[in-house]
């Protein structure tokens, strides 16, 4: 029975043109277009020189040895994306900015870390902003830790963890990250994974007698309806994984994006697989909570888009903003987990971070399925 249902559900999914468009063609088209746009940006604007910034040597600068170390380290690195020019006063920095000698300048602040001043927007300014966010949040984290748990902070200091966290690490070519702007595409992988929720919502509807007559027929069959649901889940999973494989191979080998398939194939695959499962499980949960087929699809699309937006799609700094203002959201947002896993893996070679996110995705999947099962078991069909 299991294989029988899987076979026919797969057939139905493949023939559903609209579903296949959203789950495969749309992400591929979007990625292709974004790839072209980003490559043009890189060629025209970014490949010329690193982002130049002045930094004011005020009292906060003088009292922050870690900041001075970071700036010195980055200036010493020949492949750094930054060139920092320490200056004595803010007026001097302002003059350099106005004359175009720098893209922006930083004023160190004992309370808030760093403040960035720019007069234009563009890619160098975005990189400087990213540096500021990264430095400020890490500095605040350690500062808070000293206030609340000085012993732990000292232990971290002893382990040298502060030093590494306080450093804004540039892309390491040795890690085979061929496209430094790939972070934008990680959110697309997340979107691709979460769009599987559309298909699982369709499958849930097919066994729900309140919204679809096929559900009535399936409920009268001599099979436990949960077994039919699980068979449908398997069909959606197979299709979702195939779509994801096509997408990743297309992105990596035809568009030249780095999805980690060569440097970290196992981790990259595990992130994609757990992401697909999370998307499917999310679709089942939304279907269990939202009545009506159309409402379900709308809810799935809206939820997916909000999640990928919060994970940094369109506004890269959004992840940082969420982390600073609503850190608990990262435990509820599979798109953020997927993006963070690829980001950590491909930008920092941080396999532990990737593994942590994979585990979180699997936990998210399990929780969604458990809640769905509980909800379905309690549902009484009173208005067929």
């Amino acid at each position: 029975m299991f294989l029988h249902v899987v076979k026919y559900r797969l057939l139905a999914i493949i023939r559903d043109r609209q579903g296949m468009f959203w789950m495969l063609l749309f992400p591929i088209l979007l990625t292709s277009m974004m790839s072209v746009v980003m490559m043009n940006l890189i060629n025209e604007d970014m490949s010329i020189s690193p982002a130049r910034a002045a930094i004011v040597k005020n009292a906060a600068w003088n009292s922050s040895a870690p900041l001075q170390d970071v700036i010195a380290t980055l200036n010493a690195d020949e492949e750094s994306l930054f060139v920092f020019s320490p200056v004595e006063t803010a007026a001097e920095a302002e003059q350099m900015l106005a004359s175009g000698d720098v893209h922006g300048y930083f004023i160190p602040d004992a309370e808030n870390g760093l403040t960035l001043h720019v007069i234009r927007t563009g890619f160098p300014q975005t990189i400087l902003s990213e540096f500021m966010s990264s430095y400020t949040s890490q500095a605040r984290l350690i500062s808070d830790m000293f206030r609340t748990d000085p012993l732990k902070a000292l232990a971290l200091a002893a382990d040298g963890i502060q030093a590494s966290r306080l450093t804004f690490e540039p892309i390491d070519p040795a890690q085979n990250v061929s496209n430094p702007w790939g972070a934008m595409f990680f959110t697309l992988i997340a979107m691709m994974a979460l769009y599987n929720a559309l298909q699982s919502a369709t499958e849930s509807t097919a066994v729900d007698p309140t919204v679809y007559s096929v559900g009535i027929r399936q409920r009268t069959m001599p099979q436990h309806h949960i077994s039919i649901v699980l068979s449908s889940f398997a069909a959606v999973a197979v299709m979702g994984l195939l779509n994801m494989a096509v997408y990743l191979l297309y992105g990596q080998f035809l568009l030249g994006l780095d999805f980690g398939l060569t440097a970290y194939p196992l981790y990259a695959a595990a992130i994609a697989i757990s992401g697909v499962f999370a998307g499917i499980a999310m679709g089942f949960l939304i279907s269990a909570l939202v009545p009506g087929k159309r409402n379900r699809h709308s809810a799935v699309i809206a939820t997916s888009m909000v999640m990928v937006f919060l994970a940094g799609m369109m506004v890269l700094q959004m992840r940082q903003i969420v982390r600073e203002n609503a850190p608990f959201l990262k435990y509820l947002n599979p798109a953020d987990m997927i993006t963070d896993a690829y980001y950590g893996l491909l930008y920092y070679g941080d396999t532990a971070r990737a593994a942590r996110n994979i585990v979180m995705l699997l936990v998210f999947t399990a929780v969604c399925l458990l809640l769905t099962y509980t909800r379905i078991r309690r549902t009484r069909y009173e208005h067929l």
Binding site: M1, H4, Y8, Y212, R217, Q218, T220, M221, P222, Y381
Partner: protein, 309 residues
């Protein structure tokens, strides 16, 4: 075969099934006749264990019907009111999919699917997707999906709604053929002609209650009216019409615009006297029609309203 005893089903304060009891015999076509909203579909959904109920008992083949009574479900086929199949699968694939949830063996399933296709006259359309089928063919596919595993009990919930006459005849002939082959059929409809045409016994349901039960002839024998005579008049409502009630053998009289409807006592021959009465008073008429009592007449007499009200 199917026993429903003192069934009560409430939706909040609304009593959808009100202490209903009935017994459906093996190999008969049992019609559940009632207007829309009378409780027919709710009753069927209770029988199929799709709905829980507040009181009563439903037994099939001497066993309690429940959501996990898979041995009973194996014997049952269902044709829901709305067509129930997948738009992405072809006619054959749809039938095979649903049949496969009852029959595991591929070889025997193939022959069952072929039989269902042939039985419903869908042989020319096996590779069509449902969206390319007409309304009538979709209804036939709906039936094929419900009968492919050769159930011994078949529930058909208004299978001819919005169907062209040719497909309707095909469906009705099919139902009769299934019954001849030993299938017990529970057939809900609000078309009295269908119930009269194919059902061995009919239960008339209204407001969740079983008002009357019997063969169509038995039901007609229960009422106090005979033929219904309709006369289309040339002039509107002449005053003298009310005196028609006094004619011997007239049971009741309705005058609606230019149409005179006279119901007679059972066995009374009134037409001759009625026409003479109109002639004597120089009341002109365009047409005269006389109808034998139908199940609609039965329903009207029992409930005071038409089946399709």
């Amino acid at each position: 075969m199917i026993q429903v005893h003192d069934l009560v089903k409430r939706y909040g304060k609304l009593v959808a099934i009100d202490h209903l009891s009935l017994r459906i015999r093996e190999n008969e076509i049992y019609g559940l006749l009632g207007p829309n909203g009378s409780g027919k579909t709710t009753l069927i959904n209770c029988m199929l264990a799709l709905l829980s109920f507040d009181n009563g008992e439903i037994r099939i083949d001497e066993k309690d019907m429940s959501p996990t009574a898979y041995d009973l479900k194996q014997k049952i086929g269902i044709v829901p009111q709305e067509v129930a199949f997948f738009d992405e699968l072809t006619v054959r694939e749809n039938i095979d999919y649903f049949c496969g949830l009852y029959v595991r063996d591929k070889a025997s399933r193939k022959s069952l699917v072929d039989d269902a296709i042939s039985f419903t006259g869908l042989s020319e359309f096996v590779n069509f997707r449902p969206r390319k089928l007409s309304g009538g063919l979709k209804r036939r596919l709906n039936i094929a999906c419900g009968i492919a595993h050769k159930p011994s009990i078949l529930f058909l919930d208004e299978p001819t709604v919005a169907v062209d006459p040719q497909s309707r005849n095909h469906i009705l002939q099919g139902v009769r053929a299934l019954a001849k082959n030993g299938v017990t059929v529970v057939y809900t409809t609000h078309y009295m002609e269908e119930a009269e045409q194919i059902c061995d016994r009919v239960g008339i349901i209204d407001k969740g209650q079983l008002l009357a039960e019997g063969t169509p002839a038995e039901l007609k024998g229960m009422i106090n009216t005979g033929d219904t005579i309709r006369i289309q008049l040339i002039a509107d409502k002449p005053e003298a019409l009310q005196e028609i009630r006094k004619i011997d053998g007239v049971h009741s009289l309705d005058v609606d615009a230019d149409t005179l409807t006279v119901r007679t006592m059972p066995g009374a021959y009134v037409l001759d006297r009625l026409l003479r009465y109109l002639h004597d008073r120089e009341i002109g008429y365009l047409s005269v029609a006389s109808e034998k009592p139908s199940l609609n007449t039965v329903f009207l007499e029992i409930t005071g309203r038409e089946l399709r009200d």
